[in-house]
Amino acid sequence: MLLALLTLPAGDGEPGWSVPADYRPVHELLRRLQIGPYAFLRESGWRSIVQRIWPWLAASIALLLLWAVYTVHVEHLVQRRTRELRAALAERRELEMRMRNSQQQMEHLSRLSILGELAGRLAHELNQPLAAIANYARSLLRRQERGSLSAEALGQAAAEIASEAERAAGILNGIRGFARKRAQERSARDMADVVREAIGLMGSMLSQAPAFVIHDRLGARRTVLIDTLQVQQVLLNLFKNAWDAQQAAGEAWPIEVGLDTEADLCCVTVRDHGPGLTTEQQEHLFEAFFTTKPQGLGLGLSICKTIVESHGGQLQAQAASLGAGMEFRFFLPCHSHPASQPATE
């Protein structure tokens, strides 16, 4: 067909076929029409760019995504660990607190049970010498009545009675020594702090702790020089009595603790809203083994009195001035130096 076209006779004024000398116009035309080899010009810039670089793009996006996921994951992990750590710390703190509470509780309980144990032991130990002494004394009376009392028998019995009495005294001395073993540790304390600590102890000792109201009217002189454990023992005893009295009467009042400074004395008043006590009961209140409670040992208040007095103070009981209930009040001499902090425990 090329031959046929090229050999076509050329007419005048008519276009004829020849070999092209220059292709530029053709390319120009094609470029303008954006076809043929210039078809790519037809497509808009972005799309072509995207089309050309999409594998790279996809790869970087994937990388970016991976990095983001990783970051989020790490952040999550950190947060979780922090939470766990915080929980563990809180748990440990709580455990420590519980241990401290139960330890204090145990100390107070064990002191009570030691008291019971001691009383039983004492009763048994003293029983034998007392029984022997009674036997000798009765025997002497019998012999005298029968007129058969010889000087020899009298001497023997008297010697035995004396030695048994000494044995009993020895037993008592041993117990006194045991009681004295714990050296008193006195420290200067803010009276209100001691009361608050005792209230805290009370809360940890009873499952349903009573409510307390503190009326702190202490002046500048609010420091006392005390054996903290012992004074806490006194406070706990008074609190427990107040609580028992109110429980018995079915009263849900808070226990009121008044703190006052009177001249050189720090005064603590524990007031309950129980049924109160009869005049006769009040008279025997501080005697050992006197109790108004069915399970009571009758030693609490007598021990309290001893403790307060050993601190140079006084413990008193009186009916509440307003309404039913009792007021137990103890005075301790104020200390001239400021309180040492923190609590020595």
């Binding site: 029983n127 022997a132 048994e164």
Partner: protein, 211 residues
């Protein structure tokens, strides 16, 4: 039965020496013969024979090694005639119940009223004498019965149950005459006067001898 305190003996077993001595002193003031033992072993070692005037043992419940209850059990096994009075320094209710079940006379808690103690001792000694005499009588009756032949014993049993010679003969398939001869022999050997005496003798030797 009157008690002759000079020939009866009260044994006091207590490991608490001062208390034991005080009890001995008290018993002596009432005229009792008494012996103290520092432990159950000491008493078992001494193995005192039963005194003719009766006696008893005053026993502390709690002692080292052999306890009071254990000693009581051993004495019973050995067939001792001594009645036991327990003492305790503790309120051992369970021990008291056990001791009383095992035949103790009383369970005293130290310290006790001396009058109550002395009354209890007297009661125990009296009981020991009664028991001892009963056992002596029983032994004596047994010795008497031991003289009889087996056939004579059989005849005596039937006669004691109130059967006539004739009935006994029928029971043992022997003649009335033979029974009569046996009866004569029995009366000669035991000194008994008749069927009622036979019964008394047999029962004294063995309370269930006629069952």
């Amino acid at each position: 039965m009157t008690i002759d305190v000079s020939i009866s003996v009260v044994h006091v077993v207590d490991d608490e020496a001062p208390f034991r001595r005080s009890l001995l002193f008290l018993l002596e003031s009432s005229g009792w013969q008494c012996v103290g033992h520092a432990s159950a072993e000491d008493f078992l070692l001494a193995a005192p024979a039963f005194p003719s005037g009766g006696g008893c043992i005053v026993l502390d419940v709690r002692m080292l090694r052999i306890s009071g209850l254990e000693l009581q059990r051993r004495l019973q096994e050995a067939g001792s005639a001594y009645p036991v009075i327990f003492m305790t320094g503790h309120g051992d209710v369970d021990l008291a119940v056990q001791a009383m079940k095992d035949g103790a006379i009383d369970f005293l808690q130290k310290p006790f009223r001396e009058q109550h103690f002395l009354d209890t001792v007297e009661r125990a000694v009296r009981l020991s004498l009664e028991r001892h005499n009963a056992s002596l009588r029983s032994q004596c009756a047994q010795q008497t019965l031991d003289q009889l032949s087996a056939r004579e014993l059989e005849v005596a049993r039937w006669l004691a149950l109130g059967l006539s010679n004739k009935e006994v003969g029928r029971e043992l398939a022997i003649s009335e005459n033979t029974v009569h001869v046996h009866r004569q022999h029995i009366m000669d050997k035991t000194g008994a006067g008749g069927a009622a005496d036979f019964a008394r003798l047999i029962l004294r030797a063995n309370p269930s001898g006629l069952d």
